[in-house]
C-alpha cells in the first residue's frame, strides 16, 4: 500500500495554491484532510506528480456564525464542526450529520471542503448542503465565483469546479428550527445505505411554512427533492403529506445495486429514513 511518488508543497496562501495549480496543471492535486485521497493514492487509483497541502492556509479554517448567515472555511474539519457550540446552536443539523460521518480519528482530519468538493455520492455533506441551500465559493485565476450546492454536482466525482479552481468557503443561511439528519449505515465508517436531511420551519398558524429535503447516496449525485419539500408546506406533517413527500422523493432518487443492497431495498430504506427525518424535524420545529 505504497502510493506513487510525488513532490510535496505546503503553501500558506490561496494565491500560492492557485499559482502552483496554474504551473503544474493536471499533474497537481490539492489535499485537504486526505481521508478520501490518500486511500485512493495507496491503491494507486490516483497518482499526481505534485501534491498541494492546504493545511497551512489559515484563512480557510474559519467558522463565522452571524444573524445573516454562516460562513465555513473549506478546511474546517468534521471535528471542528462538532466542537463549535455557536454553530451547533445556529445550525444543529450540521453537528448531527457530522457525528454520523466515519469515526473520531477520521473526523479530526476530514474536512467539510473535501467532503463536498470531492463529488463522492457517498459523502454526507453534499446532500446536507443542498438541504441547507448552501453556496460554494470557488477561487481561481479570475477571482472568486459562487455556485449553489444544488447546482454543483454533475455526476459522480464530476462537479462545477474547474481544474484551476479551489473551493475556499461555504456560505449558508441560518436554517429553521426543525431539522434532522437520519442515516442508515451497516457499520461505523461505512457510507450511507440511505440518509435523509430535512429542514422544516413552522408558521404562526402551526403548519409547515418552509421545508427542504435532500437524500444521500441514492444516485450518482446528491438529491435535493424540491417536490418533496413542497408537499410538506402548508400541512401539519400528517400522514397524507408525509406519504406524498416520500413518494415525490422516491421519484427523484436513482439508486443502484451494490454491496449495501439491491435497488428495492435501498428505495425502502430511503423511505424509512425520510419518514424518520420528517418526524424528528417536525417535533423540533
Amino acid at each position: 500500500m505504497i502510493p506513487a511518488g510525488f513532490e510535496y508543497h505546503r503553501p500558506d496562501s490561496i494565491a500560492d495554491v492557485l499559482g502552483l495549480l496554474a504551473e503544474h496543471g493536471d499533474e497537481a492535486r490539492v489535499i485537504a484532510g486526505g481521508h478520501s485521497l490518500i486511500p485512493m493514492m495507496k491503491l494507486r487509483m490516483a497518482e499526481f506528480a505534485h501534491l498541494i497541502d492546504l493545511q497551512a492556509i489559515a484563512e480557510m479554517r474559519g467558522i463565522r456564525v452571524g444573524a445573516d448567515g454562516i460562513v465555513l472555511g473549506a478546511m474546517v474539519t468534521q471535528h471542528d464542526l462538532i466542537a463549535h457550540d455557536r454553530l451547533a446552536e445556529a445550525a444543529p443539523i450540521i453537528r448531527e450529520a457530522a457525528l454520523q460521518i466515519a469515526d473520531p480519528q477520521v473526523r479530526y482530519c476530514g474536512t467539510l471542503g473535501g467532503n463536498v468538493a470531492n463529488g463522492d455520492p457517498g459523502n454526507d455533506m453534499p446532500g446536507l448542503m443542498q438541504c441547507l441551500d448552501a453556496v460554494y465559493v470557488l477561487e481561481g485565476p479570475d477571482g472568486r465565483r459562487e455556485v449553489a450546492a444544488r447546482e454543483f454536482y454533475e455526476a459522480a466525482y464530476m462537479t462545477a469546479r474547474e481544474d484551476e479552481e479551489i473551493l475556499v468557503e461555504i456560505r449558508l443561511p441560518v436554517p429553521p428550527a426543525g431539522h434532522a439528519y437520519v442515516k442508515q449505515k451497516r457499520k461505523i465508517g461505512d457510507y450511507a445505505t440511505a440518509a435523509a436531511a430535512v429542514l422544516i420551519g413552522k408558521g404562526a398558524d402551526g403548519t409547515v411554512d418552509t421545508a427542504s429535503v435532500a437524500m444521500t447516496n441514492l444516485g450518482d449525485v446528491p438529491v435535493w427533492s424540491e417536490i418533496a419539500g413542497k408537499d410538506l408546506v402548508g400541512s401539519a406533517c400528517d400522514e397524507t403529506a408525509v406519504a406524498a413527500a416520500v413518494d415525490a422523493m422516491l421519484g427523484d432518487i436513482d439508486p443502484v445495486e451494490d454491496n449495501r443492497g439491491p435497488v428495492e431495498f435501498k428505495r425502502h430504506v430511503a423511505g424509512v429514513m425520510l419518514r424518520r427525518a420528517i418526524a424528528a424535524a417536525w417535533a423540533r420545529a
Binding site: Y8, G34, D103, P104, Q105, V106, G189
Partner: protein, 163 residues
C-alpha cells in the same frame, strides 16, 4: 524521487528524518524512528491500531503522509508512561483485562488518552462512541470500556486531590 527533511517532535524529543514525501507516517515512526507501539493493522484507516496523538488530535498514522506531519508534535503509547510508572490508562487496561492479544492496545490507549483529555468524565455511551474508530477482535470491548471508565475515575480523583 526526491526526498525531504521532516522535523517531528515525538514523545517530547525532536527528531528529524530524510524521506520521500509519499512515505506514510506509520512507516516513518516504525521503520525510521524505531517507535513500534503504533501498529499496522488494516492499513485502510478502519482499525485504529496505528492511532497516534498528533497536535492534540487522534490520527490514524496509516492515512497521513510523513510530509503532512512535518512540524507536528506526536505522542505514541511509548510516551504515556513516566519515570513514576505506567499511565493510569495502561494500569487500568492491565487491571481490568482490557486486552487479550494486545495488537489493538497501543491504538486503543492512545485514542482513549485524547478522549479523556476532551471528555474527562464520559458516560459509557460516550466511551463507546469515542472509541468507535478502534477495532478489537478479542475482547468484545466490554473490558476496554470498563478500563477507560475506571481510568477516568482515577484521573478525575487525582485531579481533585491536586486542586
Amino acid at each position: 524521487m526526491s526526498t525531504m527533511k521532516i522535523d517531528l517532535t515525538v514523545n517530547g524529543q525532536a527528531r528529524s528524518v530524510e524521506c520521500e514525501p509519499r512515505e506514510l507516517l506509520i512507516h516513518t515512526l516504525r521503520e525510521r524512528l524505531g517507535i513500534t507501539g503504533p501498529h499496522i493493522g488494516c492499513e485502510t484507516s478502519h482499525c485504529g491500531a496505528c492511532t497516534v496523538d498528533l497536535d492534540g488530535r487522534s490520527v490514524k498514522a496509516c492515512t497521513m503522509f510523513a510530509a503532512q506531519a512535518h512540524g507536528a508534535e506526536i505522542t505514541t503509547v511509548e510516551g504515556l508512561a513516566t519515570a513514576d510508572g505506567l499511565h493510569v490508562l495502561q494500569e487500568m487496561f492491565r487491571e481490568h483485562h482490557g486486552l487479550q492479544c494486545g495488537y489493538c492496545t497501543p491504538g486503543m490507549i492512545t485514542r482513549a488518552y485524547r478522549l479523556l483529555q476532551e471528555t474527562p468524565s464520559p458516560t459509557e455511551e460516550e466511551v463507546r462512541f469515542g472509541m468507535a474508530g478502534n477495532l478489537c477482535r478479542c475482547t468484545g470491548y466490554q473490558n476496554i470500556v470498563k478500563a477507560i471508565m475506571e481510568a477516568s475515575r482515577h484521573m478525575t480523583a487525582m485531579q481533585e486531590a491536586a486542586e
